[in-house]
Subunit: 417 residues, 2 copies
Amino acid sequence: MLIKDLIAEQAQLAKVAALKMAGITTETKNAALLAMAESLEKRQDEILAENAAEVEYFKKNSSRLHMLDRLILNPKRIKDMAEGLRQTALLPDPIGHEDFHVTRPNGLKIRRVRVPFGVVGIIYEARPNVTVDAAALCLKSGNACILRGGSEAIRTNTKLTEILNDAAISVGIPEHAIEFIKITDRDAIIAMCRLRKLIDVIIPRGGAGLIARVVEHSVVPVIETGTGVCHVYVDKKANLEMALKVALSAKISRPSVCNSMETLLIHKYIAETFLLDIAKLMFENKVELRGDKECCRICPEIKPATEENWSTEYNDLICNVKIVDDVDAAINHINKYNTQHSDAIITEDKAAAEKFQTLVDSACVYVNTSTRFTDGFEFGFGAEIGISTQKLHARGPMGLEALTTMKYLIEGNGQTR
Amino acid sequence: MLIKDLIAEQAQLAKVAALKMAGITTETKNAALLAMAESLEKRQDEILAENAAEVEYFKKNSSRLHMLDRLILNPKRIKDMAEGLRQTALLPDPIGHEDFHVTRPNGLKIRRVRVPFGVVGIIYEARPNVTVDAAALCLKSGNACILRGGSEAIRTNTKLTEILNDAAISVGIPEHAIEFIKITDRDAIIAMCRLRKLIDVIIPRGGAGLIARVVEHSVVPVIETGTGVCHVYVDKKANLEMALKVALSAKISRPSVCNSMETLLIHKYIAETFLLDIAKLMFENKVELRGDKECCRICPEIKPATEENWSTEYNDLICNVKIVDDVDAAINHINKYNTQHSDAIITEDKAAAEKFQTLVDSACVYVNTSTRFTDGFEFGFGAEIGISTQKLHARGPMGLEALTTMKYLIEGNGQTR
C-alpha cells in the first residue's frame, strides 16, 4: 500500500468520526477529557516504558542531544499533561454559540452558529505533550484530528494516542476521532497536505522549515503558526528606565520562544546613551549584539549586522540593534523584516504610540510592555494551539474558537426566489 | 523583464499603498467611492469605446459567443456600476471595530480591533463589473487590491481601473491602491499565487478550473468561492405542495448560478407520487432529469445518472434525482457529493430538520425554503465579494468584514515577563 493511500484511509476514518462529532454534547466531550486525564495517570507506566526505550535510542543515535529534553517524560510531566486535559474540560464550549441572527423582510430566519471545522490536521515535532494538548483542544472544539508528530517520539506518541482514544471511546466519543499517523517518512506530511476533501485545515507547529514545506505543498487550507522576528522600538520620548527593563527582558527571559525580541530599534536622539546602557546590560547577560554602522561606531563591541540578520529568528542570546530617524523609519523597518507576530514601542508620546499601533502590520502590537506577552494564557484564553502569524481566520494566540468555523442556519415556510 | 518580476513589482507597489491605506479615514474612503461613481458616468464614452472595440474583436475571434453578454457594457450597465459604488459608500465601515477587550491582572490592557488584510488579490473572468465591485469592496475595507481579470475584457478593465484610480487618488487615496494586471498569460496567475510576502490573500472568482489552479499553486492563503453542488431533500413529512414549489424554483429560477439546485433527494415513502409530480413540472420547464435506478423505474423518461453526475455542478437545466431511505441517508449523500455550499430539507418534522441542520456540512443549511437565497443581498449584508465554500476565515456570502482581519493592541506601563 502506498503511504498516500494509507494516510488517505486514516483521514477518511477521521472524516466519518468528524461528522459524528458535530452532534456530540459538551457533557460527553468534558467527560472524555476527564477520562483521558485519568487514564494517562493510571497507565503512566506504559507511557514511561515506551518513552524510556525511545530516549535510550535517541541518546545512542542522535547528534541533536540538545533536543533530548523535549522528548523526555517523567511522572511530573505526565501529571502536567493530565492537568492540561482537566483545564480544557473547564473551558467554555465554543460550539453552538450564535453570534448573529436576523429575520428578513420575506420572513426567512437566518442564524449564524459556531460549528467544528471537521478534521483538523496537526503536524508537529518532537514534544509528546503537543500530542495531548492538540487532541484535547480538537476534541473540546468538536473536531476530529489527525496528528503527525516527530519521528523521535513516535513510540511515546503512539502509546499516548492509544490511551487517549481508549478513554474517549469509553465515554461515547466516536472511534477515529483522534487519528495518529505512525508513518515517519516526510512523504507522510506531503500526503496529508494533498487531502483536500478529507482534511479541513492543517496547522503546522514547528520551525520555519516545517511551516514552509507545508505551505508549499498544501492544497488544504493552512494556519501558519509560530515564527517570530519580534521588534522593540525605543522612541525619543521613551521612559528610558522602562525601556531598558523591557528590552532586556524581551531578549533574555526566554530567548528560545517565538515572542522574544530579535531586533532592538533606537531613536537617534537618545541613541548614544541608551545604546551604551542597554549594550552593557546585554553583554552582562551574555547576549551577542549585531548592529548597523552607527551602532558599531558608538559601541565597538557590537558586531556588524548582515542584511540577512534583520530577518532572522535567532531563538538564542543574539540581538540586532539599529538606530532609526523617527517612528516612521521604525515602522518601515519592522514592516519590512518582521514576521507579523509581535512588535513593541516604548514611548510616552500618545501620537507616536497610536501611529505605531495603526501602521505596524503584526498580530500583536504593544505599547510600553514586552512582546513576550503574546501567549494564550497571558491573554486569558487558556491553552492555545499556537500563535497564528497569518491574517486569514485567526491572528495571534489561537484558543478553542480558532478551531471552529461557522454555519448559517436558515428557516423558512416555503419562500422561493 | 520576466512576468513574475513585473507582477511582483506591481504587488510591491500595492503593498506600499496598503500600509498607507491602514491610516485612511472612513470619510476619505467614502469620498473616493462617490468620486469613482461620478467619474465612471462622466467618462462613460471612453469606457464604451474600449468596450465596443473589444466586443467587436470577441465576435470575430471567439468561439464562445454565449459568453458575449457578460462582456458587453452599455450606459445602463455603467450606471449600475456607479450605483454599486454609491451603495458601498453607504455600508458601515468594518475597520476599527473593537470586538474584544480585557484588562489583565498584571494591568495589561488588551484590545482586539478589525484591520484591513493589506493587499487582496482577486482573480476573475470576463465580467467588467467585477473589476468595479472588487475595487469598491477592497477600498471600503481599507485594503489595496491587485486585480487580474479575463483576457476578453482587458481593454475595458484597463480603462475602468484607470478611471477608478484617477478618481480615488484625487480625493486622497494612495496611488497603487487599485493595481490592475494587464498581462493576460496564465503565468500571471501563477506568479500572483507565489507572492507570499506581498499579497495577503487571494480570492479566485470563477469556474471550478480557475479555483483548482489557484489552490494548487498558491502559497498565499486562498479564499475559495462559488462552486455549488446544492441539494434539496424532500422528507417523508414534507408539505408536498411546498416541496414542489421550492424544488422547482431552486432548479429553474436561475440555473446558471452557484446556489441553484443540482440534485433532488426524495424520501422513499413519498417517492412514487412526488417524483411523478415534480418530474412533470420539471419536464414542462425543459429540465432534463437524471436519476438512480428506482427513479428511472418509476418514471422512465428519467435518464440513468452516472456516478460523476452526483458531484457535477451543471449550471444548466439538468437535475439529478435520487430516492433515499431516510434523513440519515440524505445527509450521507449530501456530505459525500456536495461542495459545502447550500443544502435544504423540506419537512414539517422538527427533529429531522434539526438533525439535517446539525449534520449537513455546508455553509448554508435551509429548512423549508430554497438554496437560492444564499446571497449577500438576500442575507442583508449588501454587496458581496463571493460565496465562500471553505471553512477557514469566511463561510457563505462574504461582505466587507470577510475582507478584514484583526489585530491585538496591548498597552502596558513597563510590565515584563
